[in-house]
């Protein structure tokens, strides 16, 4: 089953120096790759650089900033293919930020009509 592991953390709560955190993520990414479960991964630019788009009454409205102002920000995600939720949870718990942030685990839906179009 495919799972998205969404990486949420508060910008200033990490107790580790930046270089160490970066190393930890490199190690984690390597482990995911070597386990043969990696489908995709992206790191997003900082939340405060986001732009939110809505169209209301035919008007395009832009907001400077994320969809929701939250304490923990979406920093990126991994897409993995593992047999079940327990396995996905294990991988989520291994994420370097898990001790101070949150990893949201959600299954990816398959067999949707829009996917057929993509071939």
């Amino acid at each position: 089953m495919k799972y998205a592991l969404l990486i949420y953390s508060a910008p200033d709560t990490s107790e580790r120096p930046y270089a160490e955190a970066r190393e930890a993520w490199v190690d984690y990414a390597r482990a995911v790759k070597e386990a043969g479960i990696l489908l995709g991964v992206e790191q997003l630019a900082e939340t405060d650089t986001a732009t939110s788009v809505r169209v209301r009454g035919g008007q395009r409205l832009l907001t400077d900033g994320p969809f929701l102002e939250t304490k923990e920000h979406l920093g990126g995600f991994f897409l993995i293919d593992v047999p079940d939720l327990d396995t996905a949870l294990d991988w989520a718990a291994r994420m370097p930020h898990a001790a101070s942030g949150t990893a949201e685990v959600r299954a990816v839906r398959t067999g949707m009509a829009w996917q057929a179009v993509l071939g």
Binding site: M1, D84, L85, D86, L89, A107, G111
Partner: protein
């Protein structure tokens, strides 16, 4: 639960539910989908009602039900999907094995798989309770809602969402691997014990005891014990529930008021349950894998073995609480330890242990803390402080029957001579439950 005490109807009802639960368990494990399993089981049982009335009961009713349910499930799967069934999503239904022959059950694995799925930590605790009572114990939505004093619609919605989460998020109907098993089993125990506690001393409402919930919890415990005979904490939990439940008849007076442990007529304790619980505990302890439930059961067994409150082996109980405090420390354990020490070594010794708990403010809303405090103060001759503590206990107590008893104690303290109530402490029943759900603190 609807059988109005008719023993034959009760046995039949449980047989029906056992069969239903077994069918659901096997289907759910193969399909990874509780809703599909439930639908297929419902159709099979409905078909049985029609066909057996017409043709007579088949020689192997369980087999007939399982085969019929499986066929219906497979038909439904094929019908639902324009594309081929994905064998990875639905192991056992791929082209090679989607025959009409039902899956072969391997011992109790299907039932265990169902239990562990229903009690998965990714589900909220109240969701786990609802799922376990519905699919493992086989209670109806209405029965569960009534037991927990919830609107039926709320519970139905909770179950719908839970089933969807299980299938969409990939919770498997399997026994966890060795590394995860102990932790997951703790979670299952917590669910069973929560159900028991709710029946033992309801957290709200007028009635103190819901015996049917206690019996469901005991049934669940015994099922687990049968499926996992080596697990000593499971045995400890069963023993604990049996020993607590043995006092049910003595815990309420004819008006539904609460009777404290010190005041209970011990002749009304169920000797058979005590014998059963003690035997299970002894067998578990002999395996030398101690744990919190076994310790709690040992404490309950000491109470059960005593002819009277005064004759109880308090020093041994105090020592056991000491062990429990090391294994599984918590403020609630400390409260119980304080009561036991207060009996073994006098109220001042008990108060000394209670001090840090009171100072920490950890259990401010926990009625048993204040009841224990009040009782120790009373026996130490501090009537005014005791009265205030009884008042705090009464305010914190959610259950009306127990609240009345606390009120009575407060009135008695206020009006009595110092020392006239000595020898009747409020014994706090330990409840090993982390989220602070209220329970009876008063002795029974």
């Amino acid at each position: 639960m609807d059988t109005d005490g008719d023993p034959v109807a009760g046995v039949l009802e449980h047989a029906y539910r056992d069969e239903w639960s077994a069918v659901v368990a096997t289907l759910a494990r193969r399909l990874g989908d509780l809703q599909a399993a439930e639908d297929a089981a419902a159709e099979a049982f409905a078909a049985a009602a029609r066909v057996w009335a017409r043709d007579g009961t088949p020689p192997n009713p369980g087999g007939w039900l399982m085969t019929t349910a499986w066929r219906k499930a497979v038909d439904q799967l094929r019908g639902n999907r324009a594309i081929a069934v994905d064998p990875q999503q639905f192991p056992g239904t791929g082209a090679a094995s989607a025959s009409d022959a039902p899956p072969v059950t391997v011992g109790g694995d299907d039932q265990l798989g169902l239990v562990f799925a229903c009690c998965h930590p990714a589900l909220a605790l109240e969701v786990r309770v609802a799922l376990t009572l519905r699919f493992v114990a086989g209670l109806t939505t209405r029965q569960i809602a009534a037991a927990f004093v919830l609107p039926e619609a709320t519970l139905a919605q909770r179950l719908v969402r839970a089933k969807r989460k299980i299938s969409e998020s990939g919770i498997r109907f399997e026994v966890p691997g060795p590394d995860a098993l102990a932790g997951r089993l703790d979670g299952v125990h917590a669910v069973v014990y929560l159900v028991f506690n709710e029946g033992y001393a309801a957290s709200g409402g007028e009635q103190l005891i819901h015996a049917d919930l206690c019996e469901e919890a005991i049934w669940l415990g015994r099922l687990l014990h049968r499926l996992l005979p080596e697990d000593t904490e499971t045995a400890g939990l069963v023993a604990l529930m049996l020993l607590h439940h043995s006092r049910a008849a003595a815990r309420q007076d004819p008006d539904g008021g609460a009777v404290l442990l010190a005041d209970q007529d011990r002749a009304r304790w169920d000797a058979a349950l005590i014998a059963d619980g003690t035997a299970i505990l002894d067998a578990a302890v002999a395996r030398r894998r101690p744990g919190p439930y076994q310790i709690e059961a040992a404490i309950a067994a000491l109470h059960a073995a005593a002819d009277s409150f005064e004759a109880t082996d308090w020093p041994q109980i105090a020592a056991l609480y000491g062990t429990l405090a090391r294994l599984s420390p918590s403020p609630v354990v400390e409260v119980n330890r304080a009561v036991a020490v207060g009996m073994a070594d006098g109220p001042h010794a008990g108060l000394a242990i209670l001090e840090p708990v009171l100072a920490s403010g950890a259990l401010t809303g926990y009625a048993p803390l204040h009841a224990a405090h009040a009782d120790l103060l009373e026996r130490a001759g501090l009537a005014a402080e005791a009265s205030a503590a009884w008042a705090r206990a009464e305010r914190a107590m959610g259950n009306a029957a127990l609240q009345r008893e606390l009120h009575r104690r407060r009135a008695a303290t206020a009006g009595s001579e110092l020392g006239s109530r000595r020898g009747e402490p409020a014994v706090v029943r330990y409840k090993n439950f982390p989220t602070g759900v209220e329970t009876s603190g008063l002795g029974p």
